[in-house]
């Protein structure tokens, strides 16, 4: 183990810690809206106050998510890895559930007001 190694490891861990602190500090607000994007384009937005199950059947692919008590979770997906289904439920602004094979992103956003936490 040489000097450079230690420097690198410390730098990376500090960066990671800083990132985590920043993410948790910026007022972890409960979000008001779920924005669903497919391939980068906004598909639809959903009010988190309204409990609902939504099915996305796009390009022959199937994803289904649930909004309940202001929390979003992916119920089912026919992608090969199912990481999206295994992902913990989200409810704070900026949090995402991604189904990468389907290019689907469920992202919690503020709602009508412009976001000022991050861009």
């Amino acid at each position: 183990m040489k000097k450079g190694d230690i420097l690198l490891i410390c730098a990376v861990l500090v960066l990671a810690a800083a990132g985590l602190i920043y993410m948790n500090l910026g007022g972890k607000k409960s979000g008001g809206t779920l924005t669903v994007t497919v391939g980068g384009d906004v598909y639809d937005t959903y009010d988190l106050a309204e409990d609902q199950d939504v099915s996305l059947d796009i390009d022959g692919w199937h994803n289904q998510f649930r909004i309940k008590n202001g929390v979003v979770s992916m119920l089912e997906a026919d992608c090969p890895d199912k990481y999206c289904v295994e992902h913990a439920p989200i409810d704070k602004v900026g949090e995402t559930i991604v189904c990468l094979p389907h290019k689907v992103v469920l992202e919690i956003t503020e709602g009508e007001e412009a976001r000022d936490v991050d861009a």
Binding site: D5, M23, Y83, G94, I97, P101
Partner: protein, 163 residues
């Protein structure tokens, strides 16, 4: 020459096994293809015993074969991005005298994750995926350190076989 090729082939097969075994470890960070990077152990050892060109070949062939066998075209894209970025970083860092195998492995590991994350972010056009970066950096550093320590033990012992 044929000995080198045979060795490279063995290394590639070994890297594939590592990739496969990795899938059995249930760590989910939400992004497909984002794994611990155990196969990097083989690439690091190859880098320090067979030199950069052969090590690069081992890495690339491993990614191609694993993607074709277990993954998909999309997975290949992510892996290649991570693999190329990772290898370039490792190759450059190896030349700097203050870095040992540990530092090189750590760099390789985190660059691989960064490369994959960058492509994922581009594909879904969403900057918020960057929230996956801190846990990935930590996981990559830990795995990188372990791989570096193991490489430190393996390389001196097999170097004479490959000369």
């Amino acid at each position: 020459m044929s000995k080198k090729v045979a060795m490279a082939g063995m290394f590639t097969a070994l890297a594939m096994i590592f990739s496969y075994v990795e899938v059995l470890i249930p760590i989910n960070l939400g992004i497909p293809g984002m794994k611990l990077g155990l196969a990097n152990l083989v690439v690091v050892v190859a880098l320090y015993t067979m030199g950069a060109p052969m090590a690069f070949a081992v890495s690339m062939v491993r990614i191609l074969l694993v993607s074709v066998t277990f993954g998909s075209l999309a997975a290949m894209l992510y892996s290649l991005a991570g693999g190329i970025l990772s290898f370039c970083g490792m190759m450059l860092l190896k030349k700097i005298p203050n870095f040992s195998m540990v530092g090189v492995s750590v760099a390789g590991g985190i660059l691989h994750n960064i490369g994959q994350l960058a492509v994922a972010m581009a594909v879904v056009e969403n900057i918020h995926l960057i929230s996956y970066l801190p846990p990935l950096l930590i996981a990559g550093t830990v795995t990188g350190m372990l791989i570096g320590i193991v490489s430190n033990q393996v390389v001196p012992r097999i170097k004479h076989v490959l000369k």
